[in-house]
Symmetry: C4
Subunit: 240 residues, 4 copies
């Protein structure tokens, strides 16, 4: 029923590249156009991400599930293991590689579009205790949203709901909600508004893993016993 793995990996690669390009590109535009107000810049950056992320999930969902995020793929594997649904362990690794490669290419694309040095290393240090709590919370919520909607037969709402969650988490978490290891790694390669220094990236990713397990625990407690429908976005009416 599902598309061949190569096509799914292409979808994850292109989708994550576009996601990082959206985040980094709008960050550059915002800081150039509204230099005086970092809050207005973040509003432009978050609004763009909401719109762009929702569209990417709609476009790539029927092919690969539009995970665009290694922790989403990993939770899909964890939840589907018992029922034999979801990704296999090998798929998860392939997905994560495609997502991370895409994330890096997306940062380069944004740098190129804005006539900047293509490959940069970010110097924006972001680690504080509060920021790590923020990443845990943002990622836990993301996982809870995705798998709750899948388990309750409402995966068609994922595009809007995931985008809305990230749009909110940009603001209510102190970390501005990276919530995605592939995007975090991609954002290392642009020393602009949305960049993150390599040393901070490692801590953020660790917090995201803890957050993913927290979200998984919440879903399991609130919606127990339905492992069979764990797939994130079931390709509906799609032609392969």
């Amino acid at each position: 029923m599902s598309a061949p793995l190569t096509r799914r990996l292409l979808a994850e690669f292109v989708g994550t590249a576009l996601l990082v390009c959206i985040v980094v590109g709008s960050g550059i535009a915002a800081s150039q156009l509204s230099p005086g107000d970092p809050g207005l810049q973040l509003l432009q950056n978050s609004t763009t991400t909401v719109f762009g992320l929702a569209v990417l999930i709609l476009v790539f969902g029927p092919v690969s599930g539009a995970h665009l995020n290694p922790v989403v793929s990993a939770v899909d594997w964890l939840l589907g293991r018992r029922a034999g649904t979801g990704l296999t362990g090998r798929d998860v690794i392939a997905y994560a590689c495609a997502q991370t490669g895409g994330g890096i290419i997306g940062a380069v694309m944004a740098n190129l579009m804005f006539d900047q040095t293509p490959l940069q290393l970010a110097t924006h240090h972001r680690i504080t205790g509060g920021h790590l709590i923020g990443e845990i919370l943002a990622t836990a919520g993301l996982i809870a949203v995705i798998f709750t909607l899948a388990r309750t037969g409402r995966a068609a709402l994922s595009a809007a709901a995931v985008a809305a969650w990230i749009g909110a988490a940009y603001w209510f978490t102190s970390s501005t909600s990276f919530a995605n290891p592939a995007v975090t790694i991609g954002r290392v390669f642009s020393d602009t508004f949305a960049g993150i220094a390599p040393a901070s990236a490692a801590g953020f990713i660790a917090a995201q893993l803890i957050g993913a397990l927290t979200g998984l625990a919440l879903v399991s407690v609130l919606y127990p016993g339905t492992a069979s429908a764990a797939d994130v976005v079931t390709p509906h009416r799609a032609a392969h």
Copy 2:
């Protein structure tokens, strides 16, 4: 058919905690990032609340109805009494406790994320005659939206419509629309942008109760005679 009470209370607790965390956290971020323009801060705060609240209703709705608000639970009980649907009186008290406890924890979480003193007492006095009218109006509208959609078979629109109503009421009411006793009590515990002094909280909650009864009266006049469908969010296609 419905989830066990403990699971529903957990949903109300976590959901209200996240709601207050969203409101308080984005208020802190907004005031730090756009210090020069309180209107821009409120726009960032209200936009975040719209996105976050819609997602919380989607995630917790199938478990507990995602009331996240004691006056919503109370009206659910009032409307459902005759028909034997809705919450019981004891459920309402349990819901209100879970919601209020969650609200306080949510404020603490926001304080922690932004590296502030965890437990604070707000000093922002908000009572004026106009603000109390604002709270009545905001709460009446909230009740009208929720129970109109339930009574007309459109509860699936609640997440978007409730969020949109609150997003509008942040601006068109003079009080910025608390409209929720549990959230009001939670916001007492953060002396930041979204905080409210304890003395103001009491008056706001009284106005919210009047507003809830006003909204209930409006629904009863516009949509009479359908007490059987009074449940707020009927768990649809959810697995328990």
Copy 3:
């Protein structure tokens, strides 16, 4: 099938009161909170109107069609005459009175909420040649949106689409899109951000009537021959 006239008039009265309260109230809040930037004020005002208007259509639609606008009621009557559907001529007059009365009360409510003199006369003169073109265009588009969706069986999208159209027309028309005689008259009674001087109101209303006929002509050319489905919002699954 439809609700008794008195209940429909109550819905139109309360709905239009809330609409004007939303427009005027958010205008006052915006001008108080962001005094330095009229563009930011208009963005706050238009965003609030988008959210609020969509919710009002959802809440009052199943009772009265949620016209909230005399030119919408008049076009409903014009389109439905031949087929015997839609409002009667007497209904239109009753609707228009309820809407206009509601509009005035809404302005008073907003004035009261913001601790201002309850009844004011606006002094904001808004007539220019370009503004009248703007009103024609905004109203023509509004009529085209509403009756196209009704004629193509998509009235359930009206709430979102009407709100989006008005949100756009706030900005792309020079007049900021009043597009509604009842709201225009209501806005005469608040000398604040959203107010309009009585002398300008007359010209705006004349332009709105021309716009309504233009919109009606466009719908008739694009979607001919389906007068039977002219009702704006068919009460769906509503209990009366």
Copy 4:
């Protein structure tokens, strides 16, 4: 089944005129109302375009498909050729003429509404290497969104998804996403915020053509073998 060509051309003409009027008009309003912050101006401009474009697709879609864009019409023809669906080559030329004529009239309408010289020539030069990459990316994404939704039976989501994509691409591309030859030509005729100098327009249109082919390639790889459903917006429940 489909509407006569003249009616479809009228829909494309009026729809594209309104689209350019929305883009140019809101650009003028934004630059007049928020003169100090070009980023805030672009946010007002992009938000208006999101709302307006979504509504135009809903209104004109059932008549003509609401392409409002020559490259969309051209891809519709390319994809539908083998299966005998979609536009004919002659239709595409007629569509493109109606769209381009509409685009020019829309700029004149916006100039008139804002009491400016009706016909102007823009002097805003926009070509850089990065901007051309931006146009390729924005147009490729636009084509991918439209034809993916059509191929997967979700054309009803086109209005929201196309609008969201353009709203994001205003920000994350360096070119602010024209992505439409008819709109690009229309924007030549207003020397205001959204204008583009004739010399830049040619380069932008070339980039858009490359982008359209790139998007077509992406759709063909991700969703192969379903040429029969290539029509953009299938008129659903529409009366002709």
